[in-house]
């Protein structure tokens, strides 16, 4: 399954790991903040429309 | 005192508070060095420990003018001076907050920047150790400088001028540790001296800072 990476195995694998981690981080951060902001907005919308 | 520390940290983290800016400044100064001295990597490797120390020192220096001056301008300092908290404690806490928000991030970022300047392998750990030991002294000495110049509008430049000479011993020993470490020489003497300077500064300077601050508040 795993291709033979030869003597550069560490290099290639670490490049993939770091990149995928960074991609995951930006996606996770976006989604986390997006969820939070959306919930916050709904909370405030509810409160504001109650008060008129 | 914890309330004061928490407040200072919170102020630093709030938008516009400037946390992380010291770090960015450090990064930029490091990047500018090759532009000015040229890109030869062996030359850069030779001067790397010194440049990193100098960069960290300047980043510390630049953030000093927010340390007390903001509190002075809006009157907080007057009020803190009349509060039931000895002024020595106040300045120590402020120095600690400064170190946490400026010195510590610099220490952690320095190895990454070492890569940019081709710092030789063994240099990394020594750079880290010397910065970890030296930056508290920079914060404490800087607080003294900030207390000296607190009454002056935008005294930032004068502050730099007063503080830089005081930084010289710390810089010499700190950079020496990093430099010797990078070329695999023995480092224990400058390391001890550096530790001594830091310990002395942390123990004694707050009294001087508080005294000076009292005069400035008058």
């Amino acid at each position: 399954m795993m291709p033979d990476l030869g003597k550069y195995a560490d290099t290639v694998i670490s490049a993939y790991i770091v990149s995928l981690l960074l991609l995951a981080a930006i996606v996770a951060l976006s989604v986390w903040r997006g969820r939070r902001v959306r919930a916050e907005m709904e909370r405030i919308e509810a409160r504001v429309s109650k008060h008129g | 005192m914890i309330a004061l520390l928490l407040r200072d940290l919170r102020l630093a983290f709030r938008a516009g508070g400037g946390f992380g800016l010291g770090l960015a400044f450090f990064l930029i100064v490091t990047v500018l060095v090759p532009f000015s001295v040229g890109p030869q990597s062996d030359l850069l490797a030779t001067i790397a420990p010194g440049v990193l120390w100098l960069g960290a020192l300047l980043a510390c220096l630049l953030s000093l003018d927010r340390l007390l001056a903001l509190d002075w301008e809006d009157g907080s300092l007057d009020l803190l001076a009349t509060a039931p908290l000895p002024l020595e404690a106040t300045v120590s806490v402020k120095a600690l907050a400064h170190w946490i928000t400026t010195g510590l991030p610099l220490v952690l970022a320095a190895p990454v920047l070492g890569v940019l300047l081709n710092l030789p392998g063994p240099g990394f750990s020594w750079l880290l150790v010397s910065l970890l030991l030296g930056t508290p002294a920079l914060s404490v000495i800087g607080t003294f400088g900030a207390a000296l110049t607190v009454g002056l509008k935008r005294g930032g430049l004068l502050l730099s001028l007063l503080v830089l000479p005081l930084y010289v011993p710390t810089l010499i020993f700190g950079a020496e540790v990093a430099r010797r470490g990078a070329v695999g020489m023995e480092t224990s003497t400058p390391l001890l001296l550096l530790a001594g300077i830091t310990a002395g500064a942390v123990a004694l300077l707050p009294f001087a800072s508080a005294a000076v601050l009292r005069v400035n508040l008058r």
Binding site: - | R14, D74, D78, A83, L217
Partner: protein
């Protein structure tokens, strides 16, 4: 609890500004300082608060009893109203900021960043700080600057409540606060210019 000031002389910028000032401030009383611009009211308050030394004379009963509100308020624009007050409360070892918020009608503004308040709103916050200090003697330097009429009334109520609890207040102001308080005109205590000839001790 009584603040006793006897034969006080104070200086600003190296020159004496007021001299021979004596008064007593009893618990439960307020004293209003009046005098033209530049006579030395701010200097007097700073001296009493311990921020600068007196030239001569004695101040008794001031040590660690004074809450001082200067021309500027010590408000952090990036902290909310609550955070600002809570900070001062914990510095002074009191905990409860709710009465202070109530007294200056700050409840509606509690969550706002202090930097987004208008001039008068900021001032109210600065005054609310006095309540969380828990100190018996209030020293206020022109507290009602940029307050509207309702806010001035709020302030007068807060001072009255403070006096009612055995506190005292020393207030420098140019306007009428509607407080029943003694007035101290500081004009007559203006320091005579020091004699020119002796050049002894000092430089004049």
């Amino acid at each position: 609890m009584t603040l006793t000031v006897s034969d006080l002389s104070i200086a600003r910028g190296g020159l004496p500004v007021l001299e021979g000032l004596s008064f007593v401030l009893e618990p439960g009383r307020a004293l209003i300082l009046r005098g033209p611009n530049g006579i030395g009211k701010t200097t007097l308050l700073r001296t009493l608060a311990g921020l600068q030394p007196a030239l001569t004379g004695r101040i008794e009963g001031a040590e660690d009893r004074i809450a001082y509100a200067a021309h500027s308020d010590g408000i952090k624009p990036t902290l909310s109203v609550t955070e600002n007050l809570a900070f001062w409360a914990s510095v002074f070892g009191t905990r409860d900021i709710a009465p202070a918020l109530d007294a200056f009608a700050l409840n509606d503004l509690a969550g706002r960043f202090a930097g987004n308040l208008s001039a008068g709103q900021k001032r109210r916050l600065g005054l609310a700080r006095m309540l969380v200090t828990g100190r018996p003697i209030w020293m206020l330097d022109e507290p009602t600057v940029s307050l509207d009429r309702d806010a001035v009334a709020l302030f007068a109520d807060a001072v009255r409540a403070h006096l009612g609890q055995g506190g005292s207040a020393l207030i420098a102001t140019h306007i009428d606060l509607g407080l029943e308080a003694e007035v101290l005109e500081v004009g007559p205590y203006k320091a005579a210019p020091p004699p020119l000839d002796d050049f002894d001790g000092g430089f004049l």
